[in-house]
Symmetry: C2
Subunit: 255 residues, 2 copies
DNA sequence: CCTCGCTTCCGGCTCTACCGGAACGGTTAT
DNA sequence: ATAACCGTTCCGGTAGAGCCGGAAGCGAGG
């Protein structure tokens, strides 16, 4: 989360958000645990928890507070009304069925990649990527596909904001390397990820662009490294991913 | 949403929440549209929108504000850490595969049913149930299964709070009918829904209970009315749903 | 160039968010 | 039993901040 320590216009809301963050980090916690965590008096934490509870953002579980499913509800509602999601979701399913691998839809927000939707293939190895999860764009194929469609100065800005932290030994951590990689992506038309975010996982991603050529997201397929190699990884899967991306782009316009 | 008009301890937070609700209802809106909608000066709406934006709960799209995927992120994160979800999710998948229909996991929160997870079967007719969607418990099979495991006075309380509004012509709208139905559910061990929330859709649901016998959720299968009839609807599917519920209950304890 | 609608900024007044402290309630130890 | 202790809940005063009106930017359109 941003944790802008700069003064927010509405300080009380800022405090409430800190309470939410605390509950998220603590999973379940009592009033005083929350108060300690964000360094406010218990009475203050209590006021905010109660306000959140009244609005059903927080629920009591025994003698502790937990975040409710209200967040999921709002997020799910917005996503369900989203034209991109509605258009892409069925195509994701198809892609997952055809490949047997996981298919993902990513969007960019605040300079980071959001796993916006996923479809499971036959291989149901457990992914760490919960819905909505945010990652640095350069660590995924879909993210790199998006970056490749953004103007250079915007990429610079994103790198300035979020850096290039190494997640695995294969993650791109150098700025020049990144731009070189983005050149390759633009040449190929698709992006790859060879264990750059998760050991043992390979991905192929392609950007979705609007009429102006601006990226509105990206789709990708991810699977175990062993099954994702050679022609399948460099030809078959990319072709399918690109075709799917194309179908989604077209359907975005005419329905 | 609750819309507790009673005074919240932290009024500023209450206002922020109203801004969020407004954005949700308006989909995308400018400062003044939000201000009008919740009847505050534009400058106030602006302050709150800016605070939300700084914390990445709201994003600018052109010259309008929209809710960001932050809600999905928080909700998805919590769900992913949830023992019930982690345990039930793979079983849902299996159930969807075996039946070819949609499989759902519902939990109860604030007296309403939350569609907490779903797995798609082969029949991919478009459901209106986005993830996190809240419904009145008595309108779904999973919800009735949960109600059947709650003490009568709690059921009374829930009905008092949320009423028994009719959604389709088959929805239970009478209190006595509801209790009669819950008796049947307890006898059978599972609950059914014959077009009580959606025309043309039948469901079968079974509750998940903890060691104390309190319901922690319910699983259900829903499909088109035509395919969900006779032995399949009254025997085969119920058996599978009950078996799945049982597997989840056991796995909850030993892993 | 002027108008109009919207967003953004600014500063003062008043209200309220915040806090300390006290009461309450449940649990454990003596 | 009873006391001690922990966390939660309640309460009231104060000073600091949220709210608001008004004005300044800023585009779009005539």
């Amino acid at each position: 989360m941003a944790a802008e320590t700069g003064s927010a216009p509405v300080g009380a809301t800022q405090t409430t958000i800190r309470v939410i963050e605390a509950l998220r980090e603590l999973d379940a916690a009592g009033v005083s645990a929350v108060a300690d965590h964000i360094d406010v008096p218990t009475s203050t934490a209590f006021d905010h928890l109660r306000t959140l509870e009244q609005n059903e953002f927080v629920r009591r579980e025994g003698d502790e507070y937990v975040l409710s499913s209200q967040f999921l509800e709002i997020g799910g509602y917005c996503r369900n009304n989203d034209h991109l999601y509605r258009t892409a979701e069925p195509e994701l399913q198809k892609m997952a069925n055809e490949t047997g691998e996981h298919a993902n839809l990513m969007i960019e927000e605040f300079g980071r990649g959001v796993f916006y939707a996923k479809a499971k293939g036959r291989e149901t190895f457990r992914l760490d990527t919960h819905i909505g999860k945010r990652v640095n764009l350069q660590t995924t194929s879909a993210g790199k596909a998006i970056l490749a469609e953004l103007p250079d100065d915007r990429v610079e800005e994103i790198v300035d904001d979020h850096g290039l932290p190494g997640i695995t030994e294969h993650t791109i951590t150098d700025r020049a390397d990144l731009f070189e990689e983005l050149d390759t992506v633009r040449e190929q038309g698709f992006a790859t990820d060879t264990e750059e975010r998760l050991k043992g996982v390979h991905c192929v991603g392609a950007a979705l662009t609007d009429d102006d050529g601006d990226p509105i997201g990206a789709v990708s397929v991810s699977g175990p490294k062993n099954g994702m190699q050679d022609e399948r990884f460099f030809d078959d899967i990319p072709e399918l991913v690109l075709r799917t991306a194309n179908v989604i782009e077209v359907n975005m316009k005419y329905q």
